[in-house]
């Protein structure tokens, strides 16, 4: 391409650069931005978002999309709280909730892998089924966690070596999923299935079990992030299902450079995307930018990132045919 310098940045690198520029600008103009306390707060504020995005990444890498995550998160946790209100010890209630959530994930995966329903429709439909079923059981949007469980309080307010537990949990989970994707055979299967499901099936990979387990994993990861959120604010707001949270999760994944066409990217992309959203939100909150304007700015940045990526990495015959949503 004449007139363009010969180096190429990936989208992940573009986002990384934007993040660095933002951090630099905020540090210059906001006196208390670059303090340990604020950075930890920033990370703590995006910990649940990051966990959700890791789960979403697992599915997107396998050329799917999971729009049930928020519904599963809020209803799974609310269901566990409901069980504990009916006498089951809270720990066991969470175990039962977790099993139920995995079942839902398997159901979603089966719809996608066996019934061949396009993932965007399967998960969109299932999300409202899950949420609707929950709404019949729990009348209130906000469900409060039971009190008197020290381990649960620790999850929400505790720190490990000065770092909030939710940040540690997010880091641990991201590490585990990264190892799983990069180092295990099953992880490679996910890439292969996402890159070209037909080729993967032809060479004998178990594509259906791979797809089903992805959705089971993303549902379970959503549940974990719900537990953390519930621990932090001592309750769960099921109305989050109606919020823009699921789009924020997608924003993080796409922003970080995981193509919706599957087969590319990994946990590192999610981390870069999450940190950009965290920095942006933190800076705008300090600057007292209104909620509506914040959403607008986030949207503009997403579009800008996609536009920059389209210029730097132009689409070719292969990418335009690979089933982008």
């Amino acid at each position: 391409m004449p007139g363009f310098p010969s180096f190429r940045l990936t989208q992940e690198e573009v986002i990384f650069c934007i993040t660095v520029v933002l951090i630099g600008a905020f540090s210059l103009f906001l006196p208390k931005f670059l303090t340990a306390g604020n950075i930890l707060t920033l990370l703590n504020n995006v910990a649940t978002l990051g966990i959700l995005a890791v789960g979403m990444a697992l599915v997107v890498v396998g050329r799917g999309i999971d729009l049930t995550m928020i519904a599963v998160m809020v209803i799974g946790v609310a269901f566990s709280i409901w069980l504990s209100a009916n006498g089951l010890p809270f720990g066991w209630a969470l175990v039962v909730g977790g099993l139920l959530v995995i079942m839902v994930g398997i159901g979603t995966g089966t719809l996608v892998a066996v019934a061949d329903v396009p993932p965007i429709f399967a998960t969109l439909g299932l999300a409202s089924v899950v949420y609707g079923a929950g709404r019949i059981v729990f009348k209130s949007d906000v469900v409060y966690a039971p009190t008197g469980y020290d381990w649960f309080t620790f999850l929400g307010t505790g720190t490990i070596a000065g770092i909030p537990v939710s940040v540690c949990a997010a880091a641990l989970l991201a590490g585990l999923v990264a190892l799983f994707l990069r180092k295990t055979r099953f992880g490679r299967f996910i890439y292969a299935t996402g890159d070209n499901p037909f080729a993967a099936r032809t060479i004998g990979l178990p594509t259906r079990p791979v797809i089903i387990s992805q959705y089971a994993a993303s549902a379970f990861i959503a549940f974990l992030s719900g537990i953390l959120m519930c621990a932090v604010v001592s309750g769960i707001n099921t109305r989050l299902y109606n919020s823009t949270l699921i789009y924020d999760v997608l924003l993080v994944v796409v922003l970080g450079g995981i193509g919706l066409s599957g087969g590319q990217g990994g946990v590192r992309n999610v981390i870069v995307g999450t940190i950009l959203v965290g920095v942006l939100t933190n800076g705008m909150t300090i600057l007292n930018v209104s909620f509506t304007a914040q959403n607008l700015i986030k949207g503009v940045i997403l579009l800008a990132a996609l536009a920059i990526d389209a210029v730097l990495n132009p689409r070719d015959e292969q990418t335009s045919q690979s089933g982008d949503i």
Partner: protein, 337 residues
């Protein structure tokens, strides 16, 4: 002997009197106006379009109204759009087309339903608005005096964070949805208090979107910038528990005064007891519901023409802190049934 005779005679007289009096009581006594009242309500059809039935306040109102409806024989249908304004407009348009005897509306903001409400009034349907007003005034509004609510909450912070009283004079306003009537009016009340107390510094003014996690995130971020923060005020107790969680996580539980308002449900009282909230201005959704029930009866009367009179009824507001977070200030739904 004479006295016994006299006693017998007296007893006979009394019994005779009773026997003759009783039938006439059973047959004819009518409580004044009751017949007309029963007739006005019986078989009528009321449709309620809420913002969402997931809120504690909505559940309290509907519980009270259903009791009222069951007793006096009218029907109450709830068309819940579950926070979706598009669905809300559809529900409202559909309800207007059905020509109910009364429409009850809780507005998501001042503009969205303004046209539909006018259409309803033009079509002769009486409209009762509850707690969240529209730009269109209709037959009746029952709910909070939101400007007063803003003044009360910021007034609380003006006291706690006056110069020399608190750790600083810095306060935060965690709004709900910026275009909501409650927000707009509360902001007016807040501005009045801020103007009267120039020392108070409003260091952050952000919408938490009625979400506890968002409230927590904003408060945690602001606390990093202003570690000497004195007060936070919000708009709904179920969201401001997140602000309380952020303050507790920062180890500043005694330092920051957290003021909000709420429907008066038990969960709000629990949050005060847990130390997540300092003060709730309780607007008693149950009593609001009773006032609105009175308005329902009024608006169903045959001689009341739609939009002929425009009433406003403000419900009670009680200041609740840990000394009085009990009994009548904390209802549960079961108690209202």
């Amino acid at each position: 002997m004479v006295s016994i005779l006299r006693k017998l005679l007296l007893t006979g007289l009394v019994l005779g009197g009773l026997a003759s009096a009783t039938p006439s009581i059973a047959a004819d006594v009518q409580q004044v106006g009751r017949e007309a009242y029963l007739k006005a309500l019986k078989g009528k059809r009321v449709i309620f379009v809420p913002i969402s039935q997931g809120f504690d306040l909505n559940q309290a109102w509907v519980t009270v109204w259903q009791r009222h409806a069951a007793r006096y024989g009218f029907t109450l249908e709830v068309r819940d759009p579950n926070m979706n304004t598009e669905a809300g407009i559809r529900a409202l348009t559909g309800a207007i087309a059905e020509k109910p005897d009364l429409l009850i509306v809780q507005n998501p903001d001042v503009q969205t339903y303004a046209r539909q409400l006018k259409q309803a009034q033009d079509a002769g349907i009486p409209v009762l608005q509850v707690n969240m007003q529209s730009a269109t005034q209709t037959d009746s509004y029952v709910g909070n005096d939101w400007i007063e609510m803003g003044r009360l909450e910021m007034g609380e912070l003006a006291k706690a964070c006056a110069k020399g009283k608190g750790p600083s004079t810095k306060v935060v306003w965690l709004a709900g949805v910026e275009t909501g009537a409650a927000n707009i009016y509360m902001r007016q009340g807040i501005n009045e208090v801020l103007a009267a107390n120039p020392d108070l510094q409003l260091v952050s003014d952000q919408a938490a979107n009625y979400d506890s996690d968002k409230a927590r995130q904003i408060t945690a971020t602001v606390l990093q910038q202003h570690p000497d923060l004195c007060g936070v005020m919000g708009i709904w107790d179920n969201a401001e528990v997140g602000a309380g969680a952020a303050v507790a996580a920062a180890g500043k539980s005694g330092q920051v005064t957290i003021v909000t308002n709420g429907a008066g449900s038990q969960t709000g009282c629990d949050s005060i007891k847990k130390g997540l909230l300092t003060v709730i201005y309780n607007f008693h959704a149950d009593i609001q519901g009773e006032i609105a029930a009175g308005q329902i009866s009024e608006l169903l009367q045959p001689n009341r023409k739609a939009a002929s009179v425009k009433d406003v009824f403000f419900g009670p507001i009680t200041r609740v802190d840990k000394t009085n977070a009990t009994d009548r200030n904390c209802w549960t739904l079961d108690e209202l049934k």
